[in-house]
């Protein structure tokens, strides 16, 4: 229904473009005046004025309609003798009434429900009809308003610019509000978690076994149970595992990525560059789940075999396999970012170095890399924040047990893996186990935020130097 309405509004107002254009032309001829803007701006003006108020009205209506109908229906049901003790029961009855209306309810239907369902469909009808009428009125009113403005030869160009500016502002507002919404939802759930588990127990505990709190209502935890849970949510093994795998990944990705970036920027001919750059960037396009099963099914067992042949015990899900594959995944980020940074080091610096007799590698090592260093550090930090946020590879290849270890051949786990493990399957949302996922998410978010901030500062500092 709403989609049909939106479609009709858009079609109608688009067609007004031509009307507005020709109308203003004829006005200017009739009255022999100079228009304040090109005729097409009057067209745009009419289009925007005829569509936006109606669409905004529709949006607001659609937001409030269900709420209003719900409160009316619950009230009528209560008047007819329906009994409910709290909000949840009221909601349940409302859902039942809706289901009867849609014909998808298969329980017993008593008279109260039946009557309510009839009044539900009645109200729905009234609301829909009045919605259509009001939208119609809105469109007519706004079109008349804008036509009057056009007849007075208003400054359509400025007005259109203002409206467009407003539209763009609203778009960016939506993005910002979404971010804020995510942060707050993380924050609220985390606060619930930290009201049960002390934040210091969480940050400095060395034992992570959240399954001990499986399906236990947070509000009903006794003192004895709390003591037992105190050391179940230690964050240290997770951050250790995450950093360890990220470290292995960077150990692989930084040298290879940086060297290939240097090769691309300084040595590769145009032809080689044109072919090999996209090929390296394909690595960035491989879905991480593919990397994940490559790590879990090929690389992990391969390491185990090698380990066995030289007498080492290697877990088939090892930090080494996960870190190595993650490193390969990150190579293109470092390589292409450092390639860009090195390219933006001015040629005049290289010339200055060559002119005193330095060779190419001396120039790169002593002039180009130091000049590009802040940018390179920035790209590495961005890669680190990607590594610690990466999920699929570690879920598949790193293991689930929260071992506090620095042996790369043992299995270890990461923050992201644990979040996945906590949230898959049926969950009780009051349990500290489930809420701990939000605390982990918040911690991860803060960590990557700090890294990104530092990285961007580094890159910016670098830019200021040469622009």
């Amino acid at each position: 229904m709403n989609f049909v309405l939106i479609f009709l509004i858009v079609i109608f107002s688009s067609s007004l473009f031509f009307y507005g254009k020709s109308k203003t032309k004829s006005i200017s001829i009739e009255r022999n005046i100079k228009l304040n803007a090109l005729p097409k701006f009057y067209g745009y003006y009419l289009v925007l004025w005829s569509s936006i108020p109606a669409l905004v009205f529709l949006l607001v209506w659609s937001l409030f309609e269900p709420v209003i109908i719900k409160s009316i229906i619950i009230e009528t049901a209560a008047n007819q003798g329906a009994i409910f003790n709290d909000k949840n029961e009221a909601n349940l009855i409302y859902e039942k009434i809706k289901a009867i209306h849609l014909g998808t309810y298969f329980g017993d239907i008593d008279t109260i429900l039946k009557e309510s369902a009839i009044s539900y469909s009645k109200f729905l009808n009234i609301f829909t009809n009045s919605k259509i009428v009001l939208i119609f009125v809105t469109i007519i009113a706004s079109v008349i308003f804008s036509l009057k403005k056009i007849k007075n030869n208003n400054k359509a160009r400025e007005d259109v610019e203002k409206i467009l500016k407003g539209l763009l502002f609203v778009s960016s507002l939506i993005a910002i509000l979404t971010t804020l919404g995510i942060i707050f939802s993380l924050l609220f759930e985390s606060i619930k978690f930290f009201s049960v588990i002390n934040i210091f127990d969480y940050l400095f505990g060395t034992n992570w076994s959240p399954q001990r709190a499986f399906i236990r209502d947070a509000s009903a935890i006794t003192a004895a149970e709390y003591d037992e849970l105190r050391d179940a949510f230690g964050f240290v093994p997770l951050i250790a595992g995450t950093s360890f795998i990220a470290f292995i990944a960077m150990f692989v990705a930084v040298p290879i990525g940086l060297f290939s970036g240097i090769y691309m920027a300084e040595y590769a001919s145009y032809k080689i560059r044109r072919i090999s750059k996209p090929i390296i960037e394909i690595l960035a396009g491989i879905p991480t789940v593919v990397y994940g099963f490559f790590a879990a099914l090929t690389v992990g067992p391969f390491f185990r075999q090698i380990g066995e042949s030289i007498g080492l015990t290697v877990s088939s899900e090892s930090a080494l396999a996960a870190g190595l594959i993650m490193g390969i995944m990150i190579i293109p980020y470092i390589s292409s970012l450092s390639d860009d940074v090195i390219n933006s080091v001015p040629q005049s610096l290289r010339d200055g170095s060559y002119a005193v007799g330095a060779t190419k590698s001396e120039t790169i090592k002593q002039v180009v890399i130091p000049a590009a260093l802040p940018g390179i550090i920035g790209s590495v930090l961005l890669a680190v924040s990607r590594a610690i946020g990466e999920t699929m590879i570690v879920v598949m290849a790193a293991g689930l047990a929260a071992n506090l270890t620095i042996n790369p051949l043992e299995s270890t786990t990461t923050i992201t893996t644990q979040i996945v493990m906590i949230l898959v399957g049926d969950q009780e949302f009051d349990s500290p186990k489930t809420q701990s996922a939000f605390a982990l998410g918040l911690t991860l978010f803060v960590a990557t935020l700090i890294l990104n901030y530092i990285a961007q500062r580094a890159v910016k500092k670098y830019r200021e130097k040469y622009d």
Partner: protein, 253 residues
């Protein structure tokens, strides 16, 4: 009249399909300043970049013909470019100090060529070079500050100091004052006058007044050809070629 230090013989330069220099024959005298003048894109810079083989950096550039320094052919594939550039320093149009300290900017060249093994030797080279570039008094107390923090004129003198730090025989200057104000320019010109006692200098310039002030010999290039070359005085007072006459009187260019 001093000896010809550098001799070019039928020098041609191509950038891809485009020929930038046509059969240039030009002799540059030792311990003298030679100015190269001419309209933009006439090949002056291309010519001096042949003397220290800076054109090697450009992939599509091809050089044919001969250039000799002290009778040794330098346009030779087997020539060691590193030691050539040790002998032929260069100063660029835009000051291009490295984003390092003033000290490191100067010590960079000597370190690369293995000169100045000890710290005190390096200190001495840095001091001598900065003194020669008339910058020592201004920066002696802040040698560890970044070279990019100096003013434009100071930066250019720092680049000159960098060029003389490896003790070259020839200094090439590619419009060294075009990015500087008149006062900084005057300082650089004074410096050039001083430097010509020790070095053979080739300067590309767009300012005819500058050519008159600093040079003993002037070459006029047009469209990749050396039109006329001679004593600066003669070129500017009484040129043989009509085109030179037109250029120096500002009728084109």
């Amino acid at each position: 009249m001093s000896e010809a230090k550098i001799k070019s013989n039928n020098l041609n330069v191509f950038y891809g399909d485009k020929q930038a220099l046509f059969d240039v024959n030009l002799d540059l005298n030792e311990k003298e300043v030679t100015a190269l003048i001419g309209p933009s894109g006439c090949g002056k810079s291309t010519f001096i970049r042949c003397i220290n083989r800076m054109n090697d950096v450009i992939d599509i550039c091809k050089v044919t013909g001969n250039i000799e320094i002290d009778g040794v052919e330098i346009n030779d594939e087997n020539l060691d470019v590193v030691s050539l550039r040790e002998r032929v320093g260069m100063v660029f149009q835009k000051p291009n100090p490295f984003p390092k300290s003033i000290y490191d900017n100067i010590s960079y060249g000597p370190k690369i060529h293995g000169k100045g093994e000890t710290k005190s030797e390096l200190d001495e080279i840095v001091e001598r070079s900065l003194k020669k570039a008339a910058l020592w008094e201004e920066v002696k107390d802040r040698l560890d500050e970044p070279g990019t923090g100096l003013s434009g004129g100071q930066q250019q003198r720092l680049c000159i100091a960098r060029a003389i730090s490896v003790n070259p025989e020839v200094i090439l200057m590619d419009e060294p004052c075009s990015a500087l104000d008149p006062i900084a320019t005057a300082k650089i010109e004074e410096l050039i006058d001083e430097l010509k006692k020790t070095y053979t200098i080739v300067i590309v310039t767009h300012s005819m007044a500058q050519a008159v002030r600093v040079s003993q010999k002037t070459g006029f290039f047009h469209l990749g050809k050396l039109i006329e070359v001679g004593k600066t005085e003669k070129i500017f007072k009484n040129p043989d070629n009509k085109m030179t006459q037109d250029y120096i009187t500002g009728r084109f260019g």
